[in-house]
Amino acid sequence: MDNQRCKGSRDLLPTDMTAFRAMERVFASTCLRYGYQEVRTPTIEYLHLFTSVGTLTPSMLSKVYSFLDWDGWSGERVVLRPEATIPTARLYIDNLLQGGPARLFYVENMFTFEATGKESRERWQFGAEMMGNSSPSADTELVLLARDILGEIGLQDFTISLSHAGMIRALLQELALPPSEQSHLFDRIMDGDHAGVIAQLAHIRPDLKEPLSMLFDLKGDSSAFLRNLRSPLVRLLPRIETSIDDFIAVTRLLTDLGCRYQIDMTSGKGFEYYTGTMLRFDAAGERVGGGGRYDDLIPLMGGGDIAACGFALNANRLMRVIPCREATTPSLFLRAQDQAHISDRLLFDIASLLRKAGYVAEIAQGYPQRTRHRWALLVRGTDDRPSFLLTDQSTAKATELGSLSEILGILQVVNAGKAGPS
């Protein structure tokens, strides 16, 4: 039979969901410990939230799922949310503005078209946003939060790359290009075409060739790299001073806190709304997350002068790179040897007791099932005088037992030293 799944969509199977929920639990609990609160925005938003300058680049807008709703006779289009920062900013402006600064996190799915159908058109993201704080320590906090999450979900080896949208914007301003050209070049950088833009800039200002090469081709691993670059850059491009000082402050604090990162000005990629430090997380050759500071977005959306920054982790890619962990709760498969003598009621009672004790207990139903559980429990005898055969399917060792408390005793002994029943 043909596969009936929509092109570009993906099924999350039990093993995927196990991995997903495990990550989600780590993400949420870490955010909560940092003082972030969970929100969830609607899947459908107005298109106009995403269309003005400083939101999504035109190439991203050409890939959104937009349509007229059932009451869309006015021509007002809606979209399946293509990203979450703008909706979260809208949620903050609509509901939480009076409460002042806010730390928010979300687990949401995003929809963007992808022509080959190889990448999923629906992506799940874990994201955190901090509204109302413009200091370098806010950027630092987000880097540390992301680092803690990635470490705790079991990512062995990942890199944190930092760049700075404010420096790129200042650089483009220095070239005295018309605003539309500046925003076009910025969009190209955000869409990933650094090399093309840098070549074009070096062509316009030949004296910038070397400084641009130092800035974009070299990678640093401490704030010293930026301090070394500071004077040659500021001499040629005075407007870059504020941004580079901000970037130095963020990186210095991270260095002081022992957080490892690399400074890679070509790593910034993403959204037109970025204004300051940009973050990017890579593992196993995949970009697994990113974020940045977006101080102009909330003012642009009518929320007043409120700075903000955030990041999001791509759950689909994390699921590919994180080693699958075995479920730790011991589980049993229950079966009656002879249904004429053992009633369903007895099986349900036994299963219920096992579940209350913290075990997974699955009762055999209908047709013969292959069991994925470590333990098989065969109930023998009669309702009045049941006896049990407990088999450890990993070793094929079977034990005859006379009571439920003996079963619990064996399970506890075997699982001692490993993670116990949760």
Partner: protein, 469 residues
């Protein structure tokens, strides 16, 4: 090996016919008088040709029904603006049929330039026959709030009162009577030769291409570009004097126009053509203003408050309500003239007599995906859904839908007055969806001031009386 070619009807027909003649492709039955949709060439018996509204051609080529097609580039770009992965190869510019597409505002509105456009806070209403091109263009301009209102035609008639901007073709100082001010050129377009991608990659089309190649013009250069219309040439006219109490009535163009004018005359409402301004006829009632637009476009215009009343067909109101069930527009008076039946039609040669036959296993075997062509896309979609015709695919058409059967569609949802055209084309009716006549439509919720409301109810009463007499 058969080669399938889609050729345009309408404005490009004479020049396409002449160009094909110069290429040595002499066609029988390809002229404006012909009632056939299947011209043929005596010298090229393996060439299968069908004529379409040129807007249908890029879609027909993209889905692979035709290997080659000729149509205006604007319709190719309109398809690619929304569906860039369409299987269409743009083969060559044919050098004739030049048209310019502009984004234009009215000469009497404050929007005089692109910068003023960007500075506008309120949502811009943009009418156009090219909704995908319009959306792409304003998104790239970074216009924040806009509402595209697709129309079947007469986009130039809307500004300034009934839309802020129009994306129009040529003719800016045109028939609307109120000059449009061009703000930006969106596209200069010629007739193009296009091909279905898979056919281009693997099929021998040389039978035609060899003849075409010698006659292809040199690639078009920028210097040849038609000049952007000089704004100073546009005669500035003062903005039409309107007040909030004025009632805007939309009158249908095309074949519904004359019966409507006749009906209104009998009801006591005189409609006089204005030679300077043919899309704005005058009415002999104070506070009443009229415009002539396409009946297809009226329900959405009334729903949005761009018009207060309109005379359209019940079919078009129904089509609108199929897609927007809670739209605030309703039928005020059924006017009784312009009666048609909306029918489901298949080829005479198919063994289907009822909609139930379309659900049968044999249909699903012979036509695994039912192709449904219709001008009434939303009515057809609901019909297919309600009758459980899945799997099916809708092919939107722009007129002369009967030409699609049997090669390019399996089922047609079409209007019919007498059934004669349907029979002439070897088709048969298998179901009647509903009957439709002209109707006066208006808003569900009263709008405007007291004077306007009483004018709306006066007109409604006047027309109701005319129907019952």
């Amino acid at each position: 090996m058969q080669v399938r070619l889609a050729l345009p009807k309408g404005r490009l027909l004479p020049s396409t016919n002449a160009w094909l003649g110069r290429c040595g492709v002499d066609l029988v039955g390809y002229d404006e008088r012909s009632r056939s949709y299947r011209p043929y060439s005596r010298s090229l018996p393996n060439l299968f040709i069908k004529t379409f509204n040129e807007r249908d051609i890029p879609i027909q080529v993209a889905i692979g029904n035709y290997h080659l097609g000729i149509c205006g580039q604007e319709w190719v770009e309109e398809l690619l603006a929304k569906y860039p992965a369409s299987a269409v190869v743009k083969v060559h510019d044919l050098g004739y049929g030049r048209r310019q597409l502009y984004l234009a505002s009215s000469d009497s509105t404050i929007i005089g330039s692109i910068d003023e456009l960007k500075a506008t806070d309120s949502p811009l209403r943009i009418v156009t026959e090219f909704p995908n091109l319009a959306e792409l263009f304003v998104l790239n301009l970074r216009i924040r709030r806009f509402r595209i209102l697709p129309v079947w035609g007469k986009a130039e008639a809307y500004p300034p009162e009934n839309a802020d901007l129009a994306l129009v073709v040529n003719g800016l100082d045109s028939s609307s009577g109120y000059p449009l001010r061009p703000l930006a050129s969106v596209l200069s377009s010629n007739a193009w030769l296009i091909a279905h991608r898979a056919a281009w990659e693997s099929r021998d089309l040389s039978m035609l291409l060899d003849r075409f190649m010698g006659m292809l013009p040199v690639p078009y250069r920028d210097a040849d570009a038609q000049e952007f219309p000089n704004i100073s040439k546009v005669v500035a006219r003062s903005s039409p004097q309107t007040t909030d109490s004025d009632v805007w009535l939309a009158l249908p163009d095309g074949h519904q126009h004359d019966p409507t004018v006749e009906f209104l005359r009998e009801a006591g409402l005189q409609v006089d053509e204005d030679v300077d301004s043919p899309t704005r006829p005058r009415l002999n009632l104070p506070g009443m203003r009229a415009k002539t637009i396409r009946p297809q476009d009226m329900p959405i215009q009334v729903a949005n408050g761009n018009f207060d009343l309109a005379i359209t067909g019940e079919d078009w109101l129904h089509d609108h309500l199929c897609v927007f069930p809670s739209s605030p527009v309703q039928n005020f008076v059924s006017l009784g003239f312009g009666k048609v039946r909306i029918v489901a039609v298949v080829s005479k040669n198919l063994p289907y007599e009822t909609p139930q036959d379309l659900r049968s296993p044999s249909r699903r075997h012979n036509h695994p995906v039912l192709r449904i062509a219709s001008e009434y896309v939303n009515i057809a979609d609901r019909y297919a859904r309600d009758n459980h015709l899945s799997p099916y695919r809708l092919i939107p058409t722009w007129g002369a839908s009967e030409a699609f059967l049997p090669e390019d569609a399996d089922l047609l949802v079409e209007n019919s007055q007498t059934g004669r055209t349907i029979a002439q084309h070897g088709l048969k009716i298998i179901d009647t969806l509903f009957e439709s006549s002209a109707c006066l439509i208006g808003p569900v919720h009263p709008r405007g001031d007291e004077a306007k409301r009483s004018r709306i109810s006066d007109i409604t009463a006047l027309l109701s009386k005319a129907v019952t007499q």
